[in-house]
Every structure is written in C-alpha cells, then in structure tokens.
C-alpha cells in the first residue's frame, strides 16, 4: 500500500436541522484503489458524497485530497472548483445527463474548462482560428476513447436522454472521466443494471483503476460489485463509521451484520 492516502476525511459532520446525516466520520481512500462505502438506506452515504464534491458544506471536519502538488482542502472549495481544480469527478444516484444533448456533446461539455482555455474564452473559436479546431479535435478523440471504453461509440450522435438506463449509467461514468479526475466518486453505479451489465461494470471500473491509476470511491448496494472489485470497504450506519476493512474482513464483521440484519437480541425479544 502506498504511504500517502488520496482522500482523507477527518471528523466530518453534516447536520440537517437536528438530524446528523454524517456524524464525526473519518476514513481514508488510497490511490489506485476502489474504496466502497456501504451501509443501510439513510446511513448518510450520499450526503458524504455531497460533502466531498462540495454540494454540501459540512459543519465540522476536514476533507483533504492529496495531489502531487500538495494537499487540497475540499471543504473550502466551491463545488465546481472541486471538479475543476481538485479534479474530483462524480456521478449521481438519479442519473443527471444533459438529456436533450447528444452523447458526444455530453462528453465535450465535460471538457469545458480545457476547451475554454484552448479557445481563449471562445474568442479563438468565434474567429475560426485553427488553434480551437485542433483543441476540439483532441476533445473529440478523448470522447471517442471513452465512448469506446463504455461501448457507446455507435450511439455517439443520439440524444443522451433516449439511451436505455444501463447505457445512461455508463455514459455518466464516461462523462465524469472526461474531466481527467484523480478521484472518481460513483453513486450506486450498478443500481438498476441486470447481472450481465453489472458484470461489465465491474470490468469497466477495475479497468479505470488499473489502467488510469486513479482512485475510486463507490457507493453501492449490489454486494457482488462491492465484494468483487473493492480493495477497501467502509461501512456506515446512522452517519457513523461502524467498520472498515478489506471485503473479507467486512463479511465477517459482527457490527456490519447487526446493522444489516438488525440486533439479534432485539429480534428475539
């Protein structure tokens, strides 16, 4: 295991009114690893994601992303800067594609910041300079690479909203990869997939980990995915971490079993 973690979450607390959605949570995720966050419904997994990606600001705690250039404190950045500067990509539980734009356009929009620089804030593009068309060509190449990777190349010119559910999920992952993330956060990527699609997803995710060397953070209910591909599992319940370990350890953990199946003595009583 590499000595420095990629993501370091320390004492993060997020309250909504009196409800502690995430309560004093600390864990780390390492580069080139898939870290799964699991837990019963309402355990605070998505809230945690929203804290990491800046959509919520935690009341307490620090979230650090370790880049080569040094640490970046995510809780201090705006959500769009977390994607732009810290390079954390994410997908959403309820898929959020640009439904009335084409599949390819979805991936081009994801490269907005790079293309904006190349087009000198669109000026070069307005004047029709070669500099921009070259940049757009590179952007298209990247999009093509990822479309090929997720098996959607033949659908590149279709409206994203017209794709079947499983394809939309894969497209969302491809889109997030187009920002060149260091950390990719996936919110239930296997939800609603059939077993075959689920298997393909496993291949895709391990491929991203092994070939692109980035860290993945994964919320998932599908245990075949979690146990099959995770290197590390963090278990949440009621906003707190109740266990962390490799898949084998988690499978045997008493606290985890209790959280999922209920207190045995309660059931008897």
């Amino acid at each position: 295991m590499s000595p420095t973690p990629l993501l370091q979450v320390e004492h993060v607390t997020m309250r909504f009114g009196g409800l502690f959605a995430v309560n004093d949570l600390s864990f780390t995720a390492r580069p080139r690893q898939i870290t799964a966050i699991i837990g019963p419904n309402g355990a605070g997994k998505t809230t945690l994601f929203n804290c990491i990606t800046g959509f919520y600001k935690p009341q307490v705690g620090r979230i650090t992303l370790h880049q080569d250039q040094g640490p970046v404190y995510l809780e201090r950045l705006d959500d769009f800067d977390i994607a732009k500067k810290a390079r954390v990509g994410r997908t959403f539980q309820n898929i959020r594609l640009f439904a009335r734009m084409s599949v390819l356009e979805n991936l081009i929009v994801a490269q907005h910041n790079a293309l904006m620089r190349a087009s000198v804030f669109s000026l070069a593009g307005l004047l029709g300079l070669a500099r921009y068309s070259k940049a757009e060509k590179l952007g298209t190449d990247k999009a093509r690479y990822w479309l090929n990777k997720v098996g959607l190349l033949h659908l590149a010119d279709e409206d994203a909203g017209s794709l079947p559910y499983g394809s939309q999920r894969r497209l969302e992952i491809a889109r997030a990869m187009c920002i060149d993330p260091l950390l990719l956060c996936l919110d239930e990527p296997a939800a609603g997939l059939n077993p075959r699609e689920s298997q393909e997803l496993n291949t895709l995710l391990t491929g991203i980990r092994d070939e692109h060397g980035i860290g993945l953070l994964l919320i998932e209910h599908d245990m075949s995915v979690v146990m099959g591909i995770s290197d590390w599992v963090v278990v949440l319940d009621y906003g707190r971490k109740i266990a962390a370990g490799n898949p084998a350890e988690i499978r045997a953990d008493e606290a985890v079993i209790r959280a999922y199946l209920g207190e045995p003595d309660e059931a008897e009583a």
Partner: protein, 304 residues
C-alpha cells in the same frame, strides 16, 4: 408622528388589497408551479363586474346602497370565480404536461386577451364611481394634521381579516384543503390516492379568483375609478408580494402584500410618488438576495 400614522393606515389598506390578490398567485404557483399571469386580469374583471352588479342592483333593482353592495359582493365573487375557472380550463389544463414555459406564454396571451376584451366591451375610458362610504373617524388630531380612518378603510381591513380567517379554515380544516395541500406536495401521489387533481386545481383557481374579485370590489370603492388596465400593475405588485412573502406560502402572501402596500405608502409619503414602484421592486431584490425563498418560504433543499 401623525403623518406617519396616516401613511401606516393607508399602507395597510392598500396592502390588504394586494394581499388578497397575492393569495391567488401563491396558491396557483404552489400547486402547479406556474405564474398565472392572467390573475391580475381576473382582478380587473372583478372590479368591472362588481361595478356593473352594483349599478344593476341600485339603479334597476332599486335596492339601497348597502344591500346593493352585498348583492354586488356575492355576484361578483361567483361570476369572477367562473372566469377564473374558465381561464384555467381553456388555457392551462391542456398544457398540464407541456414544457414549462408553455403555460406561461399561454397565460400571458390570456392576459392580453382579457385586457383587450374588457377594453372592447366596456370602452377604454376610466369608469368613475362617486364615493359611497363617506366619513370616518378621527384617530388623532395633531397641530397641523389629523389622522383619520375612513369607514371604508375599516370595512376593507375587516373584510380582509374575515376572508383570511375563512380561508385559513378551508385550507387547514376541510377535506378540500387537505386534498389541496396533498396535491401541492406531490400531485402524482395524490392522484394515486384517489384525489381528483384536476378538480383540486380548478378549485384553487376558483378560490384565487374569488379573493381577487373581492379585491376588485374594494378597489372600485376605494379609488372610485377603474379601467381595463388596472390588472397589469396590480398583478405585478401582487406577484411581487407573493414572492416577497415566499411563494407558495399563504401567510407569506398576506405579509408580502402588507409590506408592499406599506412600502408604497411610505415611499410616496416621504420620498417621491414617482419612484414608489421602483422601491417595491428594489426591496424585493434585496430580500431575495438574503432569503432566496422569500420571507416565509420554506427553504428548498435541493435533492442531489
């Protein structure tokens, strides 16, 4: 001090009228998330219908002024409500599942239609009505200025309070109100549970129009002149009031109405009458900057 008190009274009266119109906006927005642009015109129709009904009762029916007013109030409420219902049925209901801007454009079109319809059918000139309620009480007599509360102002404020009470009762205590609140929360779920949502939405428009009708009658009496154009500005002010109070919130609409009325009264009283509309809008922008969902609006937690 006397001057201040007088402006306060005037502002409250005006605010009560705005508040009554604002409720129509806020309820419709709450239930179908749409700015009912024609609502100001419904209020304008209310003003015309009330004047016509009152004149019919007194000149043709030969009733006394008091009886004429009561008859006018009742018939205006019924007939204006019917207009509100018809507008929804014709211009909005077919667009229930259309893109978001379609009903808005339809509503703006409806507003233009109603405005021009009134102009054509009743003429473009302002319609004056001699004051019916004369007199009032002197509250405070200062050295140079006397604060008075006219009987009409008392009637307007009392009627508004009464309507608000009835209205709150309908919303919170009756099955219609319960169905309305359910539809507002989740239209699909309410429909699944057997609520006839189309009917509930119609009822919402009818209620809003009824209150606007009362506001129309009040304005006819208070200012003594009406024309086909009064709906536009009053509509905008009332919508501003609804947003200021927090759109979707009934107490918010009333509070917003009162605030807009007070701002206008004080601004014209102390600064300049020309810029009173600017003042109202500026306050709205300021409030929205600090409370994006209005004064009493529930903060929307965005589901991500």
């Amino acid at each position: 001090m006397e001057y201040f008190l007088q402006q306060l009274i005037n502002g409250l009266t005006l605010g009560a009228i705005y508040g009554l119109i604002a409720i129509g906006y806020t309820m419709v927005y709450g239930i179908i998330r749409m700015i009912n642009f024609a609502h100001g015109e419904i209020y304008m129709l209310g003003a015309f219908i009330s004047l016509i009904a009152f004149l019919t009762a007194t000149t043709i029916g030969g009733t006394s002024v008091a009886l004429g007013l009561i008859l006018a109030l009742v018939s205006t409420m019924i007939l204006t409500a019917l207009w509100g219902w018809a507008v929804e049925r014709v211009a909005y209901r077919p667009l229930r599942n259309a893109p978001k801007l379609a009903p808005l454009i339809s509503a703006i079109g409806m507003s233009i239609v109603l405005q021009n319809f009134s102009q054509l059918s009743q003429g473009a000139r302002v319609k004056p009505l001699p004051p019916l309620f004369k007199g009032g009480i002197e509250i405070l007599r200062g050295d140079s200025f006397t604060v008075s509360l006219s009987y009409l102002q008392m009637v307007i404020i009392a009627l508004t309070v009464l309507l608000m009470a009835v209205f709150t009762w309908v919303i919170t205590r009756t099955s219609l109100g319960r169905a309305q609140r359910a539809t507002e929360q989740d239209m699909k779920m309410a429909a699944l549970l057997g609520v006839n949502t189309d009917r509930i939405i119609s009822a919402t428009f009818v209620m809003g129009a009824t209150l606007a009708a009362v506001a129309g009658l009040m304005v006819t009496l208070y200012y003594g002149v009406i024309d086909f154009y009064i709906g536009f500005l009053a509509g905008i002010k009332a919508f501003t009031a609804a947003v200021l109070g927090g759109i979707g919130s009934l107490p918010g609409a009333m509070l917003g109405g009162l605030l807009i009325g007070l701002i206008e009264a004080f601004w014209s009283g102390y600064f300049s009458i020309e810029y009173k509309d600017v003042a109202a809008f500026s306050i709205l922008v300021l409030v929205l900057l600090f409370r994006p969902t209005g004064l009493l609006g529930r903060p929307e937690v965005e589901k991500i």
